[in-house]
């Protein structure tokens, strides 16, 4: 059996987003609910949209925030879990994931 590859996160099909210099605003189209991301969360969203794999995002976070790899890993896991729970993210298997739902508000 072939290796299914790591879990890959990508944004949910009904989520749109817009950026300005301060924040990234996400909107769930069906419910109209919105979220504002800034700081490390905005970085993670940006990198997910650009199809960065999770392990590379961890390396980025560690370097950007000047913190140990383990702590960055924990932080990413926590962010992704929260986003998945509130429906901002969908998951799939594969090496690079997909990003077909990138749209702007």
């Amino acid at each position: 059996m072939s290796d299914p590859g790591p879990i890959v996160y990508h944004c949910a099909p009904t989520v749109c987003w817009v950026k300005d210099s301060e924040q990234t605003i996400l909107v769930e189209e069906r419910s109209g609910q919105s979220w504002s991301l800034c700081g490390p969360e905005a970085v993670v969203w940006d990198l997910l949209v650009l199809k960065y794999p999770a392990d590379r995002i961890v390396e980025f976070l560690a370097a950007l925030l000047d913190e140990p790899h383990e702590r960055a890993q924990q932080e990413l896991r926590s962010i992704l879990q929260r986003w998945e729970e509130i429906g901002l993210l969908a998951t799939g298997k594969g090496s690079h994931g997909q990003s077909g739902n990138q749209r702007r508000v």
């Binding site: 950026k19 940006d46 980025f60 702007r104």
Partner: protein
């Protein structure tokens, strides 16, 4: 007479006035131009003579319109631009994520044989940005400028992403804003394009014209054309929040197409500016049969293209003829600009080292060592000495404070006054158009170009200074 902008304090008969008041013959008229006083006026020969005499003697003429001009000239305008002094205070931080590129442009002289495939280490980017933002913060500057150059910056996407996010996070901590600008060939993926459109502040895309020109000038390394991808991405970039500018490299073959290119660009994309620059001769461009355009033809076509662009609300740019500039150096060299290369050297110039060395220049300011940017004070001072005050050839030219002698590396100034080279000629012609345009006297530009002898007299005038104005019939 029209004041292009208001001015300031009194300074009767100062040398700064004398050396910043110019007069250009426009057929039977004269264009009086005092950039440091933000003054331009179209006057006649008698008025020029009276102005010159009155200024030198410190008295009025009794002729009201001329005395109005005198009053403005006797008010100190902006101080003459001076080279920077004191501690290094960069106007921008330039990052070269890599010198490599996915295109094989026929004229490109940016490929660095010493480090073509080198990619900037993320720690280097981090250290340079941290140093720069701390300096910006401690200097009280509100907005930092981080610019990406190449090669093609998007060939090292991770460096660009890291630098973007680190600078964003760090500037937020420090309470200052940061602007991001990139110069790119525009051949990135669709998702990268969407990111750039909504994340960066200014995107300058090199596009030389429609497919027939672009694919000849700027093919991919595998020989395929680049036009289709760039055109697709420009549509996406046109919808984004970033300011979008196009840089068009013009050759002797394409110069006559400039007005058509301007119209096509305006019809196709949402642009802030279009910059036309003649091809810089390189061994590569010469081998490919691409040559700079004739300066007179380039200036004429630029003027026609500029009129079209302005009708569409798009700014026409020929950098050396930017009459809004008041500067002693044409480029980041005069602004203490620090350009970080992939190997960790900190340069004043984004051109490749071999280019400056060929001109006997050393534009390396220092390097990052053990995580700390280190600068050679003597090198910083040497770079600051590359300014128009040290270019005697430019002292009597009305473009002195605008083009400031042009590129220190590529523009070798002629030896004797008035022996203008093609770059000087086209700069003088286009700057004259820009001044007359600011005075809403485009009719005089047309009139001048209908009189080739008068045009040549204006463009070739050895000294533009009012004090050098000679008596005539």
């Amino acid at each position: 007479m029209r004041n292009i902008a208001p001015s300031g304090l009194i300074d009767y008969g100062s040398s700064a006035t004398w050396h910043s008041v110019f007069v250009l013959p426009i057929v039977e008229h004269y264009l009086l131009y005092a950039p440091l006083h933000n003054l331009g006026a179209v006057i006649d020969r008698v008025a020029v003579q009276r102005l010159r005499d009155a200024l030198s003697m410190g008295r009025d003429t009794g002729v009201e319109p001329i005395d109005d001009i005198l009053a403005t000239l006797r008010i100190r305008g902006e101080p003459a631009p001076m080279p920077r002094q004191g501690p290094l205070q960069p106007a921008l931080l330039g990052l070269i994520p890599t010198r490599s590129c996915n295109l094989a442009c026929e004229y490109c002289g940016f490929l660095d044989p010493a480090g073509a495939n080198q990619v900037m280490n993320l720690n280097l980017a981090r250290e340079a940005i941290a140093w720069y933002l701390n300096l910006v913060h401690s200097s009280g500057i509100e907005t930092a400028e981080v610019h990406f150059f190449g090669g093609e910056p998007f060939c090292a996407e991770e460096v660009l992403d890291f630098a973007y996010h680190f600078a964003s996070l760090r500037s937020r901590e420090l309470g200052c804003a940061v602007r991001f600008e990139v110069v790119t060939n525009g051949t990135f993926s669709e998702e990268r394009c969407r990111w750039a459109a909504d994340s960066l502040d200014t995107i300058i895309v090199s596009l030389d014209g429609p497919a027939s020109i672009q694919d000849r000038h700027r093919p991919r390394k595998d020989g395929r054309g680049s036009f289709a991808t760039v055109a697709r991405n420009l549509n996406t970039l046109s919808e984004g929040s970033a300011e979008l500018s196009i840089r068009v490299c013009v050759t002797s073959e394409t110069v006559d197409a400039m007005p058509d290119i301007a119209e096509w660009l305006c019809q196709s994309y949402r642009l802030v500016s279009v910059c036309f620059e003649p091809v810089q001769p390189t061994p590569q461009s010469t081998a490919a049969g691409l040559f700079p355009p004739d300066p007179w033809t380039f200036a004429l076509r630029f003027i026609q293209a500029a009129d079209i662009l302005e009708c569409h609300g798009v700014e026409p740019v020929y950098a050396a003829a930017d009459i809004t500039a008041r500067q002693v150096s044409f480029c980041p060299v005069g602004q203490d600009g620090v350009i970080v290369t992939p190997d960790g050297t900190l340069n004043a110039c984004y051109l490749v080292r071999s280019d400056w060395e060929a001109r006997g220049l050393n534009l390396c300011l220092g390097r990052v060592e053990e995580g700390v940017p280190w600068f050679n004070d003597e090198a910083v001072e040497a770079a600051r000495r590359l300014n128009v005050w040290n270019k005697p050839f430019c002292a009597r030219c009305f473009c002195r404070w605008h083009c400031a002698g042009g590129c220190h590396v590529h523009h070798e100034l002629p030896a004797s006054p008035g022996t203008y080279d093609p770059l000087c000629i086209q700069t003088r012609l286009i700057a004259t158009r820009n001044i007359l345009n600011s005075l809403e006297r485009d009719d005089l530009t047309s009139f001048l170009w209908q009189h080739p002898e008068a045009l040549a007299r204006m463009a070739g005038q050895p000294s533009d200074l009012l004090i050098d104005f000679e008596e005539g019939p």
